[in-house]
């Protein structure tokens, strides 16, 4: 069964081509994965795209112009020398089985983990951007509300729960099984 196509909807291949044509080498990698499900083996497509930090904001701008994307969440990994942020978008929603998962990731160097806010384009990104600031210690430049989201106000400075280096939360753990020595 081939899903119905809206006038300007792109399929995953077209979407990747659109971004590659527009941003050339700034798109470091793009991979399309398809998973089948159910008896009829209908497919859902997922695009994993890695972009240069310099082009990131522009990529999001183009995405918003294509269709206002849904941003469920931004997740992140501490990869040692860099911090990877993954913006999980979905586009083409609103028609049966046409939705594409679009995961745009961007690497930030640990020496200067800064990235521009996308709240001006997608106001709903505020909650998740605030969470990334406090959990991963990245600086979201231009964020309209820089307060903490989940962590208490008296949380120690320069400790980020999702980090895996010396700024991680290790020394604050209480290993209850070690108490009675």
């Amino acid at each position: 069964m081939s899903p119905k196509k809206e006038n300007n909807q792109k399929n995953p291949e077209e979407l990747v081509k659109y971004f590659k044509d527009e941003f050339k080498t700034s798109i470091r990698s793009a991979e399309i994965k398809k998973r089948k499900a159910g008896s009829k083996k209908n497919e859902t497509s997922t695009i994993w795209m890695k972009v240069e930090k310099s082009a990131f904001k522009d990529v999001i701008k183009h995405l918003v112009d294509y269709q206002f994307p849904h941003l469920p969440v931004v997740s992140g990994n501490d990869l040692g020398k860099t911090i990877e942020l993954i913006y999980h978008f979905t586009v083409n929603y609103g028609t049966r089985m046409n939705e594409i998962n679009l995961h745009i990731s961007v690497d930030l160097p640990k020496s200067k983990p800064e990235i521009e806010t996308i709240c001006d384009l997608i106001p709903g990104a505020l909650v998740t951007e605030r969470e990334k600031q406090e959990m991963l210690g990245v600086k979201i430049v231009g964020i309209p509300d820089a307060r903490k989201l989940f962590l208490p106000d008296d949380w120690p400075e320069n400790i980020y729960p999702w980090r895996r280096d010396e700024t991680g939360p290790e020394k604050y753990y209480k290993n209850l099984h070690e108490v009675k020595k």
Binding site: V73, T90, H103, I122
Partner: protein, 410 residues
């Protein structure tokens, strides 16, 4: 937001954060002018339990049971979304029968959750007889859950690559009997919620979320669909057996022909979804193919297989409150490198602000409840003005809400 000015006509009311019976307490700070809400600020994190960190010392099968305990109502959605993410990362193919069984469990949870919500919504406006009616129906749904999974709340049904219990032929009459019970009572509930004057008075034109705001603020689930945004993971994508089934977006215009995005529309959306869920379970029972229920029944073998995986995956499932999304990165260790959980309420926080602005204090409970948050935070309210401190507890706020209903009924 100064508090010292004596000429100031607005008040600040902090609401929350703690209600010990509920997960995810939240703290609201309202700026009030007379009875009107001028501005809202939301603070979170009072029960951040670092579940994602706890996963660093657990293997994926252990995490299933941890995920189940994220939420007491969505105790199926979280482990299943985690499974979907792991299956995507490890490229595990789920047997067809298991895909149908997963839909049945998901939809049964939706019925339980939506009916619970309907009762809470009725309670918030002081219609407690409906609360007892809905909870009677919910009790049946929980009994059916127990019959199918062995448990009423934390179901323990999910396994990576399938489910843990089959539905055999002899179980089907019992399911059909209960579905008939739900259907009969659905008519009754729909009549109460959609035709009752009191409900209409309190919910129509109250807590409006426009389509534009719903899109911009990335709202999810019935909250966004009630504002007319066609967004439902079950319809948008093909996962489980949803791709095989007859399913469409539920928006309030299906019933009333128009979309207002108010509390009433959110009630309509949820009620219609209960009906949809009943129909989906029926479709699944009809169409369910025979076969295995899990891809790899031996857990040690499954864990060994997962330990070889280097990759990342995302699992999305339409929970009763909206899309739940999990991100998992596996790096060939016992435990996943990263596990990110995003529950639907996370995205439905910002939409509260446009909903509550311009409403009255007495509308806070029903508007806040209308997104079906994982909390009913209105536990303790303190009105602070010029150093004077009044305390309003949950009962007081509830009383205000009930009084408004009575006032309108006169």
């Amino acid at each position: 937001m100064s508090s010292e000015a004596t000429t100031k006509t607005t008040y600040h009311i902090p609401i929350g954060p703690i209600h010990p019976a509920l997960k995810e307490p939240v703290h609201f700070e309202f700026e009030i002018s007379g009875e009107r809400i001028i501005d809202v600020d939301v603070k979170l994190g009072h029960v951040h339990r670092a579940v994602e960190w706890a996963s660093r010392k657990r293997n994926p099968v252990q995490i299933l049971y941890l995920a189940e305990r994220i939420c007491g109502i969505c105790s199926y959605c979280h482990p299943i979304a985690f499974s979907l993410a792991v299956e995507a990362a490890a490229d595990i193919e789920v047997p067809e029968r298991a895909e149908y069984l997963r839909v049945i469990q998901g939809e049964l949870e939706r019925i339980t959750s939506h009916i619970l919500w309907a009762g809470v919504a009725a309670h918030e406006i002081g219609f407690d007889t409906v609360l007892f009616l809905t909870w009677e129906i919910r009790e049946k749904a929980l009994d059916l859950t127990e019959y199918l999974t062995g448990n009423r709340v934390t179901k323990g049904i999910t396994m990576i690559g399938g489910v843990r219990r089959d539905i055999t032929k002899d179980m089907i009459p019992r399911i059909q009997k209960d579905l008939k019970f739900f259907k009969d009572n659905f008519q009754k509930l729909a009549h109460i919620f959609l035709d009752d004057k009191t409900f209409k008075m309190r919910s129509q034109n109250c807590g409006i979320l426009t389509k534009e705001d719903a899109l911009k603020l990335c709202a999810v689930g019935p909250t966004t669909r009630a504002s007319g945004v066609k967004k439902d993971v079950r319809v948008d994508t093909s996962y489980f057996a949803y791709g095989d089934l007859d399913i469409d977006y539920i928006t309030p215009d299906k019933l009333t022909g128009k979309i207002n995005g108010d509390v009433y529309d959110r009630i309509i959306t949820r009620l219609l979804e209960v009906k949809q869920s009943i129909e989906l379970i029926e479709q699944c029972i009809d169409k369910m193919p025979a076969g295995d229920i899990v891809a790899e029944p031996k857990i040690p073998k499954l864990l060994a297989q997962l330990k070889k995986v280097n990759g990342e995956g995302v699992g999305r499932h339409e929970a009763p409150r909206g899309e739940v999304i999990h991100y998992v990165k596996l790096t060939g260790e016992d435990a996943p490198y990263t596990w990110k959980v995003r529950a639907p309420t996370y995205n439905n926080i910002l939409p509260w602000i446009p909903m509550l602005k311009g409403e009255q204090i007495a509308d806070i409970p029903i508007v806040a409840a209308s997104t079906d948050p994982c909390m009913s935070c209105t536990n303790r309210v303190a009105i602070v003005n010029n150093g004077k401190h009044y305390e309003l507890n949950k009962e007081e706020l509830h009383r205000l809400s009930v009084e408004k209903t009575r006032r309108l009924m006169r």
